[in-house]
């Protein structure tokens, strides 16, 4: 076994390692963010994997300065699209027959059964994004505004309304 020389890193190899580092460092946190935004694990996995695929392509195209910010933005956008698609599907799809769930699915279902996840599903998407980014991802309001493409004032409004609504929903459920 030998230690690779860091002096002459091959670009592709270096990029590959950095991408792996990006995955290892942030995949799980982004997955959790996506779960809070879309409300279930399989859809969140799809969202985050798609985001990573896109960031891989774009980074190699040389247009991304901050891959993490780009990833987070992509996750939020894809989660938004997923929720929109799901609403359309729910409106038009017939009720599916229940299947026997695996143990893993049972664990995922447990996540979906969390009161706070259910409450988050019942508030508007913008409010959900704002409150999750503020109180779970711990981002400052200015950064949330940038991510959501709105003003800081709008973010404050979303958070305030979300907190009132969540307080009500969580009180109801308890």
């Amino acid at each position: 076994m030998m230690i690779e020389s860091p002096d002459q890193p091959d670009f592709d190899q270096q990029g590959l390692d950095d991408f792996t580092a990006l995955y290892v460092g942030h995949y799980e946190q982004l997955l959790r963010l996506a779960v809070l935004l879309v409300g279930d694990v399989p859809a969140a996995e799809d969202v985050v994997q798609e985001a990573f695929i896109r960031v891989h392509r774009t980074v190699h195209g040389g247009t991304v300065r901050s891959p993490l910010a780009y990833l987070r933005q992509t996750v939020i956008n894809l989660a938004r699209s997923e929720v929109r698609r799901r609403l359309v599907r729910l409106r038009h799809a017939p009720r599916p027959m229940p299947d026997a769930a695996s143990a893993e699915e049972g664990a995922y279902a447990a996540i979906s059964r969390q009161e706070v996840i259910r409450a988050l599903r019942r508030i508007p998407a913008r409010q959900r994004e704002a409150v999750v980014l503020r109180y779970w991802a711990d981002l400052p309001e200015a950064e949330i505004a940038e991510l959501m493409g709105v003003t800081t004032g709008a973010v404050k409004g979303y958070i305030s309304r979300a907190m009132s609504r969540l307080g009500l929903l969580l009180k109801e459920s308890s």
């Binding site: 792996t20 799980e28 901050s66 109180y135």
Partner: protein, 404 residues
Amino acid sequence: MTPPLSPERLTRLLDDAVRPVTARPGALDRIREGTRRRRPPRRAGVVALAGAVIAVGTITALAITTAGGPTRIASPPASAPVFSSAAKAALPAGQTRTAAQPTVDQQAVPTVAPSAQPSFAGTAPSSASQPVLAPPGASASSSASQPVRAAPGPSASSPAPSSVPSSAPPSASSSAPPPASSSAPPSASSSAPPSANRPAAAVPSVAGPVAWAVDGPGQPAASVTLAPVGNARTTFSFLLVVHTARSGTQTIPFSATSATDMPPLGPVVVGAANAAKDGHTELFVLVDTGCCTEFWTIFRLVNGHIAQVKLAGAPVRLAVGGSVTDNGGFSCAGPNLVTYTYAHQAASGTRETFLATRDTYRWAGASLLLVSQRKTTIRGAQNPELAQYSGVSCGALPQYVLKR
């Protein structure tokens, strides 16, 4: 009137809700597969396309100019434009070009300067900056047996989750780099070493790349990194990330017994050796430490997939080293893996007795199967026979990583 939901309570609820969510094994592989499927078009193709567009425009302009009047719009000539000087030279001798047969040689095609290659350097740490430590006491004279640290788990401000007692040899801790903070902001620890000043967004735990000849002799070596899963300060779950030329990147989850049983700075790649004598080297990783004994696990290639070797259904833990009362080691000199241990049994009169065990295991895919077991009672702590039941004899693997 509804009592307002406090931010602290909401944060706690959100944290609790998503805590069980973890990355599925193979997620990275699926992402890589996705990136391979959607590879962007080659740059050369883009350049050729741009050249073709410019060439068509040039030809059209030439045709309009030579047609003799601005009111006549000429269509491109029927003959295809010649793009290269080589094709130009291929014209029949004596044939001259007319305005209707313009040439567009390479000079007409704009050259595209190679763009600067992107780098993650600003946001993710370069793997080259990760610590690579030689064992304090191991007789590792070449890089072949230099262990590579995996996860500087504990933060600089919190005590390291270490099981090494205060009586441990000072060399075990003094030569190790100070643990890096994974969560403190850069300004939070001005007295901390440079490695502790990484921003929280960085990945402090990916070890430097290690080349592992997993594909066999003559094949390109695979690069290996170890990384923590989840919070680097508290986790004892890790990923072995192996990038091979043959089968792409594989991630193999593994874990230490607990955070307190781990080596002070997380698992350590000890080295690789052709233990099974099949030409594909096995990778040895230190995962647990007791007061005096190290526990190594093994990864090997099985049917194109890298797997953690199991023994009796559980990940293998080879005991290496120990104290005067207990010791262990192994040998891969033959086709089988032979483990040795001895343990203090009793003291009868002035003589101590030790129970020495020699287990022989056969390699069977990702498992080790017990072939034979021999137990011997050895009398006397100074009995030279005891020495046969300790130490590592397997390629260039060191005797110990953290101790001695």
